[in-house]
């Protein structure tokens, strides 16, 4: 017979649920370790005469695992191919192979910090990790420890501000840069447009909206009719979409970083019979992973910004860069399918940019590396689109600050000059 009373059972459910929440927050770490070289005297940790070790903390599980896995795969593929050729000739004359240690943080800031603490003694530099809150969680610590946190996948301006963040450098354009590029395209269209905005309630969403609004400021033909936010932890934005649809906007700017939510937004607007033109951030506008399942062809236009060639696009199918990259990704990046997320291309470029810095650094030290990294100008990294380049010398901009606006063509993207 059940002898426990009803309120005890309720208590048990609550207690169990709490334990569960704690546990979910703390499970699923994976270590793809390479062997770390012990630091010789006079050199920084993570570098010997023959090897250099890089650390990555990025989401390999959870809602952002798709893009996160890509951030590791691209870097691994780049250096895997280089190692197979015998390594990289550094600025100090020695040839080294590059090892990657990647840990899973599940997009959880606390886990990212713990991963950093675990890695910082064994790696020469931290790189390529995805996520604003997760990279922010150990930014201060990296400055205190003088560990480079460079070419990370976040558009948060703080990482590209040399005064605030002497040991940091962002890789992808700032959210503001992207938002502004989209706003400008819309502002120069000439037609009257009503805009609805949905944004993530954090620095990511705010940055995008800020850039977008700056570009449409004082333009009488563009009116923002409704603005809503959602939380990064939400599992549904149906209610927001319903409210925005009733505003009658013909343009929708959706500053959203969560893949499943973006797919369900694209689906939901169709379910509501609302067919605006969409503007999407670069990290949640992948044709294969998001637009196709979201049924984006139903809309008059889907616009995004980009700086990387999309392998899926017919225009680049026979491009030499793309061929080399896809082969390496398969062979060294443990990534068999053609990549669904642009992050794979981005982290390949991160590898190429680090390679540039390695060739320039005179001493096997972190200081010398940072100096070399901050001196790369107009570098056309592999896979970069015409009109964009890597420039790390500006002091207040990420490595890539130039973008082009593109329109979805049902399979990939075409660069456009005007909004129609």
């Amino acid at each position: 017979m059940r002898r426990h009373t009803r309120s005890r059972t309720a208590f048990r459910i609550v207690a169990g649920a709490s334990a569960l929440a704690l546990m979910l927050a703390g499970c699923g770490s994976r270590d793809d370790s390479g062997r770390s070289g012990a630091g010789d005297s006079g050199t920084s940790p993570g570098i010997t005469d023959t090897t250099l070790t890089l650390g990555i903390t990025t989401p390999l599980s959870g809602a952002t695992a798709g893009p996160g896995t890509c951030t590791v795969a691209g870097v691994k593929a780049y250096f895997g191919a280089k190692n197979a050729e015998g390594g990289i000739k550094f600025g100090d004359g020695k040839t080294r192979t590059v090892e990657i240690k990647a840990l899973d943080d599940g997009y959880d800031p606390q886990k990212a910090k713990a991963n950093y603490d675990q890695l910082k003694g064994d790696v020469f530099a931290m790189t390529a990790g995805l996520g604003t809150p997760t990279n922010r969680a150990w930014r201060q610590a990296a400055i205190a420890d003088e560990v480079p946190q460079v070419l990370v996948m976040t558009g948060d301006p703080i990482f590209s501000d040399e005064k605030e963040s002497p040991w940091q450098l962002g890789f992808v354009p700032k959210y503001q840069n992207e938002g502004e590029a989209m706003g400008e395209l819309l502002a120069t269209s000439g037609g009257e447009h009503k805009v609805a905005i949905l944004s993530q309630n954090d620095d990511y969403g705010k940055g995008y909206v800020e850039g977008f609004k700056k570009a449409i400021e004082g333009k009488d033909n563009i009116k923002v009719v409704k603005e809503l936010t959602y939380e990064a932890t939400d599992t549904s934005v149906d209610a927001q979409l319903t409210e925005l649809a009733s505003s009658g906007a013909d343009v929708f700017f959706n500053a959203m970083s969560i893949t499943p939510l973006m797919i369900s937004s694209l689906q939901k607007a169709q379910q509501l019979n609302w067919k605006p033109s969409w503007f999407l951030p670069s990290n949640t506008s992948s044709p294969g992973a998001i637009l196709e399942p979201g049924g984006a062809s139903a809309y008059p236009g889907v616009y995004s910004v980009s700086f990387a060639k999309a392998p899926a696009s017919p225009a680049f199918a026979s491009d030499e860069d793309v061929q080399t990259y896809l082969a390496a990704l398969k062979q060294y990046g443990d990534y068999p399918d053609p990549p669904a997320f642009p992050h794979c291309q981005w982290s390949w470029m991160v590898g190429a940019t680090l390679d540039q810095a390695f060739q320039k650094m005179k001493e096997p030290t972190r200081e010398s590396f940072m100096e070399a990294l901050r001196s790369i100008k107009d570098y056309q990294a592999p896979l970069m689109l015409e009109g964009t380049s890597v420039d790390t010398t500006q002091g207040d901009q990420p490595a890539v600050s130039s973008v082009v606006v593109q329109k979805y063509n049902g399979r990939g993207y075409d660069t456009v000059q005007s909004f129609d």
């Binding site: 699923g28 959602y230 149906d238």
Partner: protein, 293 residues
């Protein structure tokens, strides 16, 4: 008006998902006195089975039916070979076991199918239908209807069949049921199997919207538990109604109550729980458990 109706229908649709999982939890609790925290995890595993079948050219409806069957067997097996030894022991131990099971299943899904989001095809088109001049999305209506039908079938089974009578007998008094010759162990397996099968239906319905990941239903599980407390552990109808209330209220509060908005809507069901636990500890529809001394 259109906005309001759509919000309510969407709320009912998400509420149905919570409701199905809550109902599964109540079924298991009625039969064995345990709270199964792995209910959501088992549903995700079933959804993965259905998804895996669709990638091998099995038609979607058939794949979902097979996954429901798989889930039934899985539930029965888990009861027989894992939970049986904890059923008459300390309920706290059993709770820990089910939480462990959830972690295990999530890990297995991730290991077999990676943590990437998989695209699960939807049973329903993305269109809308016009009801009395208001357009409502087909998927929301479809989800709600399928769950209601599943619940009615279960209700029919429990009320109208010999098996259902036996199941209820075991739930109310396993000892007396055993003395009157009922195969208690086998009936418990059927109870767990039915609960898991219901979870599989919920999993297949929600996967197209959330995209399939190993942790897809973690959130839904928390809401389902909220519905269980709100509705009352002893009332199957009660938990479903509570789940609908939670789904609808959350949607409406965000849009129509300014100070709640989209930032605080998560708190709505939990504030409700506090209020209910203080005012009616047995839940809105539950009965007080009376122990004969």
């Amino acid at each position: 008006m259109g906005k309001f109706v759509q919000l309510v229908v969407d709320g009912l649709s998400t509420g149905s998902i919570y409701g199905a999982i809550a109902l599964a939890i109540v079924l298991v609790n009625q039969a064995t006195g345990l709270i199964n925290f792995a209910q959501g995890g088992m549903a995700v595993l079933a959804a993965y089975v259905a998804w895996w079948l669709t990638t091998h050219d099995v038609p979607l409806v058939l794949a979902i039916l097979i996954s429901i069957l798989f889930s039934f067997v899985l539930g029965a097996v888990v009861e027989r070979w894992l939970m049986r030894r904890f059923e008459r022991g300390d309920p706290d131990t059993a709770v820990v076991v089910t939480i462990g099971l959830l972690t295990l299943i999530t890990g297995i899904c991730g290991w077999l199918w990676t943590y990437n989001n998989q695209q699960f095809p939807s049973l329903f088109p993305l269109g809308t239908v016009s009801v009395l001049g208001v357009s409502i999305s087909i998927r929301s209506i479809g989800t709600t209807l399928v769950i209601i039908v599943a619940m009615l079938l279960l209700q029919g089974l429990f009320v109208g069949t010999k098996l259902g009578l036996a199941l209820r007998a075991v739930a109310i008094n396993p000892q007396s049921a055993a003395f009157s010759g009922l195969p208690v162990g086998r009936l418990l397996m059927v109870g767990w199997g039915l609960a898991a099968a219901l979870g599989a239906v919920a999993g297949a319905l929600v996967a197209p919207q959330l995209t399939l990941t190993p942790g897809m239903l973690d959130n839904a599980l928390v809401y389902a538990l909220a519905a269980v407390i709100l509705g009352g552990l002893t009332s199957p109808i009660g938990v479903v109604v509570a789940a609908w209330i939670i789904g609808v209220l959350e949607n409406l509060a965000a849009v129509y109550v300014d100070f709640i908005g989209f930032d605080l809507k998560v708190a709505v069901p939990f504030i409700l729980i506090f209020v209910v636990l203080i005012v009616r500890p047995q839940g809105l529809f539950g009965r007080k458990v009376v122990v004969r001394v």
